[in-house]
């Protein structure tokens, strides 16, 4: 039982990384990125393709991808997504959903529908044992990265000039612009940062398990559930939501492999009905 709990928390670490970008983009500009999962998969495939070209440790490839992801996200927001923002959610949903379909089919054309993964050598099999508990080193590293990223984003949001700009445009775009902020650039910056977390999530997903071009929607749903369970607008909330989702799924898988993901969805819906504002709403001050 404790083992299931531990595995669930470690799985939650990965889900947390899926969710952070979603939370940031929604928090700053109320943009629901329905291609979140597909961008994670795109990041994973970018790492896998790079690993085939240069023979260095996957972690280094991941680090090299981060600035590229930032620029990609910045440009995407600046030149495509900014044009879709507004009171009506339809344009941004259609455009990101269209991007999701383009990414899925583009990857399938390039890499076929087969699942692939990123070879990590010894890291894939190493594990640590404490008493009766055993945990893989890689999942522990992923958990650590998730904690670090959550901490970093919360700090960025609450304690820095950039974060102040994020909060300002989030609260009232027009007033923020009167104070001299260029909302379009602030939005682009937020998406750039969100895409850094997306790239991290993609590389770690490819290291931990396999990825296929059609995986995106499922990852999107996990990210979304973590954000809503945790309560919108809080990175630690998303972290806790991801933990709850990971543990629930792990317990579900233990009961019956066919129902694991289903039980995760059900717990999400229960939280939605019982506590629609999420478990930890708006912890950012």
């Amino acid at each position: 039982m404790i083992d299931t709990l531990l595995q669930g928390l470690l799985l939650g670490g990965l889900y947390c990384l899926f969710a952070l970008g979603q939370s940031l983009m929604f928090g700053v500009m109320r943009l629901t990125n329905t291609a979140q999962g597909d961008f994670i998969v795109l990041g994973a495939f970018a790492a896998i393709a790079s690993a085939g070209l240069v023979a260095v440790h996957p972690a280094l490839i991941g680090l090299a991808l981060l600035p590229i992801a930032f620029v990609f996200g910045y440009a995407l927001q600046r030149y495509v997504l900014n044009g879709t923002l507004g009171r009506d959610p339809l344009p941004s949903l259609v455009v990101t959903f269209g991007l999701a379909i383009v990414i899925q089919n583009g990857l399938q054309q390039l890499f076929s529908a087969d699942p692939r993964s990123l070879a990590t050598g010894a890291l894939a099999t190493e594990s640590l044992s404490v008493g009766p508990l055993t945990a893989g080193v890689l999942p522990l590293v992923i958990f650590g990265v998730a904690v670090a990223c959550t901490f970093a984003l919360q700090w960025l949001f609450g304690r820095t000039r950039i974060g102040r700009a994020f909060r300002a445009v989030s609260d009232d775009r027009e007033i923020a612009e009167l104070m001299g902020l260029d909302a379009r650039k602030v939005y682009a910056l937020a998406t750039g940062i969100a895409f850094v977390t997306i790239a991290i999530a993609g590389v770690l997903q490819a290291m931990r398990t396999t990825v296929a071009p059609s995986d995106g929607p499922l990852l999107l749903l996990f990210a979304f559930e973590a954000v809503i369970i945790g309560g919108m607008g809080s990175f630690w909330g998303a972290f806790c939501g991801a933990m709850l989702l990971g543990v629930t799924q792990q317990i579900g898988f233990r009961i019956d492999p066919g129902w694991g993901i289903w039980i995760g969805h059900i717990v999400f819906l229960i939280v939605l009905v019982v506590r629609p504002q999420g478990l930890f709403p708006k912890t950012r001050g």
């Binding site: 929604f26 495509v80 259609v94 899925q104 583009g106």
Partner: protein
């Protein structure tokens, strides 16, 4: 949204101006011509089983299902303002309800089609209690989760074949020609009913209320419109229509599986049709379905490239051409085949 259809901000003005006795014009010359042409077309189409080929009928049934589903998505998103990526839930429920009524209930599958649609509408009532907790973009993804719950749930029910699905055995014993022409007539009737009902609904008082809600929820509520009731009604009607499309599709298809019935692609194609045709217009899904049919016919052999192209087209239309084809025609030449607005003369 108000940019799409500027005329919908009129209702308040209309009711005040009515006192001064201007003439309220609701039809156009084109709308009367459309009605005439439509009657002739439907008449010709109804006789198709006597002179056409059975492949044409199959093709029509398939595109009819896409169209009905898309026009229900248009009602929900374009008029109700509820953008959903989870309408495939009701498509699948319609399909499975029809199958269960036919295979286990001994009901003729053609009779089961409307019953299955009602079942989808009934299930939409409790589902709305959950889905309406979210709004905007989160409503869209939340409904997707709900659709997945149904897909994964039914994949675990062994009575209907679990994940690999099952066949509609209730149609055994009916010969192929009878089955195909009956399916075709039912599909034709469903399409006509769907267009007529949506048109009449949007022209009614309730339709006006719906447009007001879409344009400004708070203002609509302050005018005494029961916003919550109206949204629920639209959600249930859209679910019923989606269930109808699903039931019809799987009567034509004879085989059902959770992955096919609850595929997000149904909604993806519906979004494509509505966006390309023109959202928030009755003509939108009609034109969109024709465009989709043509593209499908000529390019579907290209597989992934074809789907990639559909995705790109939807993005380009949304970014640069937001009113869609029907909206373009209306703005350029003022043609409206199904006028729902009230125009004042004199």
């Amino acid at each position: 949204m108000s940019a799409i259809s500027p005329s919908t901000t009129m209702p308040a003005a209309v009711s005040h101006a009515a006192a001064a006795d201007p003439i309220v014009v609701r039809g156009t010359l084109l709308s009367q011509v459309t009605l005439g042409v439509a009657v002739v077309l439907v008449g010709v189409a109804a006789s198709l089983p006597f002179w056409g080929e059975s492949s044409w009928m199959r093709e029509f049934v398939e595109i009819a299902c896409y169209f009905i589903f898309a026009s229900m998505w248009n009602l929900l998103a374009g008029y109700g303002g509820m953008v959903s990526i989870g309408q495939q839930a009701f498509y699948g429920i319609g399909g499975y309800a029809m199958l269960a009524l036919g295979n286990f209930g001994g009901i003729n599958p053609f009779v089961a089609i409307p019953l299955a649609a009602l079942a989808a509408g009934l299930i939409a009532v409790p589902v709305s209690r959950v889905a309406f907790r979210l709004s905007g973009g989160y409503f869209a993804i939340g409904s997707w989760v709900i659709a997945e719950v149904f897909r994964l749930g039914i994949a675990n029910v062994s009575a209907v074949g679990g994940g690999s699905g099952t066949s509609l055995t209730a149609l055994r014993g009916i010969d192929k020609a009878t089955r195909e022409s009956t399916t075709y007539w039912v599909a034709l009737a469903c399409v006509v009913a769907c267009v007529a009902l949506v048109y009449l609904f949007l022209r009614s008082k309730q339709g006006l209320a719906l447009l007001a809600i879409r344009d400004n929820e708070v203002a609509a509520e302050s005018q005494g419109i029961a916003v919550k009731k109206m949204k629920l009604a639209v959600y249930v009607v859209a679910a019923t229509g989606a269930g109808l499309a699903g039931a019809l599709y799987f009567v034509g298809n004879l085989r059902i599986s959770p992955d096919a019935a609850f595929s997000v692609n149904w909604t993806a194609f519906a979004i494509f049709m509505v966006v390309v045709g023109g959202i928030g217009r009755i003509e939108g899904p009609i034109i969109g379905a024709l465009v989709f049919w043509a593209l499908n016919k000529f390019f579907s052999d290209y597989g992934t490239w074809y789907l990639l192209g559909l995705g790109l087209l939807a993005i380009v239309v949304t970014l640069f051409f937001r009113q869609g084809l029907a909206g373009f025609v209306q703005q350029r030449w003022g043609w409206v085949a199904f006028p729902t607005q009230r125009t004042l003369k004199g």
